[in-house]
């Protein structure tokens, strides 16, 4: 019997990376490889890295070193944003077999296949295809992402992404719709619209909102989430689309700062007032609409007063979760050259304040859902018959069920909140 080659895939960073890894898992599986468990030895390890902050660089480096040490005779393939940002440095490391840039990531399986067939190809010779991934078949998740665009031309002054993910490019409408249909055929019931800056989607005159409408028209019992979105990526009527039963009432809308002054220095393309009005418009149509966000603390020149504006606005906006980043200087960005960098301890204090606020508003939001109905997509049922999954508002829900089948929808009523490390809502089936 032929022993299958084992491949292990590790992901760091954003949802887009996660999706691309899931798609590679499918491609390796189709090509006859066995997917190794996280602690197994592997013949091939692919590390899909992130470089968005210093911390992500460190984690990526650690993952590469760990994988190389564990699989001394195996192939180590490094891809992702770090591969673009530090290509030459990584290529000099002996423990790494191949360094593959983002726009050739979808071709990694053919690179590895050729390697084992004795043909050593330089990754630079692979085709560039940012949308050449297989539709996800096997995944550890019940939801899968649909990549609609890649790259970003916004050049926010703190951000390294435009340099590593390249210029904005949108996937043709038909390819997107075909991808949606094939993941639905593969059994997924929830899709997440993903990209680097999806609000800038534009293909032959079709913009983001129009594409979304087309996706919602695809027949089937499924629902659609939108991954992170920039506040300048849609028009004043966007909230109306959420009347569609397939579109879930949650947005991760990136605020970054609640100070107008800092937003200008970040070269973000909206104002706090614009953000406020957006939230108000959504909530007047759907009062329990769930907003989550990203905030950067310690951007160069951020004063106590600027930070207070951020805290005040975050409180007012009632985000159910705030992902806080401490500003991290990235080489080649404009913010790197800005005077008055904020000291580490000040950043740490500000970040802790936001974290506490995020905790509190999460509890408040969860409490406000008491008595309301949710349609939960079941991800897991434990041995006691307790099902867990997310409601349409992107809140974690558990409830008792006699049916052990997962990846199905169940309509429930929220009864109570169970606070703890992973706070969740307890519900009953209705």
């Amino acid at each position: 019997m032929q022993v299958l080659r084992k491949v292990s895939l590790k992901t760091l960073g954003c949802r887009l990376n996660q999706y691309e890894t899931d798609a590679l898992v499918t491609s390796f599986h189709k090509a006859g490889y066995e997917i190794a468990g996280s602690e197994d030895q592997a013949d091939v390890t692919v590390i899909n890295t992130c470089t968005v902050t210093n911390q992500s660089d460190q984690k990526s480096r650690h993952t590469i070193n760990h994988a190389a040490a564990k699989n001394k005779n195996g192939l180590v393939v490094v891809t992702g944003c770090m591969a673009d940002n530090y290509k030459e440095k990584l290529e000099q490391q002996e423990q790494i077999t191949y360094v593959v840039e983002n726009d050739r990531k979808s071709q990694i399986v053919s690179l590895v296949d050729s390697h084992f067939a004795g043909e050593i190809t330089h990754p630079d010779k692979l085709d560039r295809d940012r949308f050449g991934f297989d539709a996800v078949q096997k995944s550890f998740h019940t939801r899968t992402s649909i990549k609609i665009q890649d790259g970003c031309d916004n050049f926010c002054t703190f951000c390294i992404i435009p340099s590593v993910r390249g210029r904005a490019i949108s996937r043709p409408v038909n390819d997107v719709l075909e991808n949606v249909k094939s993941v639905l055929d593969n059994g997924f019931k929830e899709i997440v619209i993903t990209g680097v800056n999806i609000g800038r989607y534009e293909h032959e005159g079709i913009h983001f909102e129009q594409l979304l409408e087309k996706i919602l028209e695809v027949p089937g019992d499924f629902r659609v989430r939108i991954s992170s979105l920039e506040p300048d990526g849609f028009g004043d009527d966007f909230h109306k689309l959420f009347a569609h039963p397939k579109l879930t009432p949650h947005l991760h809308l990136c605020l970054q700062s609640g100070s107008e002054n800092i937003l200008l220095k970040m070269r973000r393309m909206y104002s706090v007032q614009h953000f406020r009005e957006t939230i108000e418009r959504f909530r007047s149509a759907i009062p329990d609409f769930n907003f989550t966000t990203d905030i950067i603390v310690g951007f160069p020149g951020e004063t106590e007063e600027d930070f207070k504006h951020t805290l005040d606005f975050a409180r007012e906006a009632r985000f159910s979760h705030i992902h806080t980043f401490r500003y991290s200087k990235r080489t080649g960005t404009r913010a790197e050259r800005m005077p008055v960098q904020v000291p580490g301890p000040v950043m740490a204090r500000r970040s802790e304040k936001i974290r506490l606020l995020s905790e509190r508003s999460r509890m408040e939001y969860f409490e406000s859902m008491h008595g309301k109905e949710q349609r939960v997509l079941i991800e897991k049922v434990d041995e006691n018959g307790i099902a867990s999954g997310y409601g349409e508002n992107y809140i974690p829900v558990k409830f008792k069920t006699g049916n052990r089948e997962k990846n199905r929808f169940e309509q429930v009523a929220i009864e109570s909140m169970v606070a703890g490390e992973d706070t969740y809502l307890f519900a009953t089936i209705i």
Binding site: D153, F155, D236, E260, N261, L264, K265, R267, M269, Y270, S271, Q273, H274, E277, R334
Partner: protein
């Protein structure tokens, strides 16, 4: 026929001094397509430092111009001035969305507010759409910063000089915005340094402009 790589080679065509510290750098356009309001990233060589510069010229010519002010201790703005016609440039872009939705419609009055070299995108717009209905308020220190003032129709260009008394208004741009009864515009575009933009935005909002009528391009 030339290859894309050859067409994509950018060389300095001309450097035109406007005052002691400011100049217009012209280079061949190659195959570049751009819209008024966009910027390019310019470096002396591919691997070296690049900086953003708004395109100054209109979209019709076979060249591209940028308006650059030398910054004290600045790396790129000073080096670029030392270049000679025929020297190579590294150009990335064009990038950006500023002025993307400003169309020269007859019923749409546009208000342009610039500080210093922040006038560049408006110059490109005016060169591209000479018939547009706009009014340009330019905040500068001295009158020698009223760059290419004679390129604009007299009724459209208005300088505010914070020093000297030769401006159309002698004082800060923001004081002018506070005091003046400028005719209401459909859209307002602000370009230049962030502190001017910050103050001007406050004033414009107080005058009743909605956030979706105000657009910004921050240089530093």
């Amino acid at each position: 026929m030339k290859t894309i790589e050859e067409v994509d080679q950018y060389v300095v065509k001309d450097i035109r001094d406007l005052n002691e510290s400011t100049y217009v750098l012209r280079f061949n356009r190659g195959i570049m397509e751009f819209k008024p309001g966009q910027h390019v990233n310019i470096g002396i060589n591919e691997k070296g430092e690049h900086r953003e510069y708004s395109i100054y010229s209109g979209t019709h010519g076979d060249y591209v111009e940028v308006l650059i002010k030398e910054v004290d201790d600045g790396l790129v703005s000073r080096r670029l001035r030392k270049l000679k016609p025929g020297d190579q440039l590294s150009i990335r872009g064009p990038f950006g969305f500023f002025l993307a939705d400003a169309k020269p419609a007859s019923n749409e009055r546009l208000l342009f507010v610039a500080s210093g070299t922040g006038i560049a995108p408006f110059h490109s717009f005016m060169r591209t759409f000479p018939e547009a209905d706009y009014r340009l308020i330019h905040g500068i220190r001295n009158i020698d910063e009223a760059y290419d003032k004679d390129h604009y129709k007299e009724s459209r260009y208005f300088s505010c000089t914070s020093r000297g008394n030769r401006g159309d208004y002698n004082g800060r741009l923001t004081d002018y915005l506070l005091e003046a009864e400028e005719e209401k515009a459909e859209k307002v575009y602000l370009c230049g340094n962030s502190s001017m933009i910050y103050d001007a935005m406050d004033i414009l909002r107080a005058q009743g402009y909605r956030h979706d009528q105000i657009f910004t391009e921050v240089y530093f």
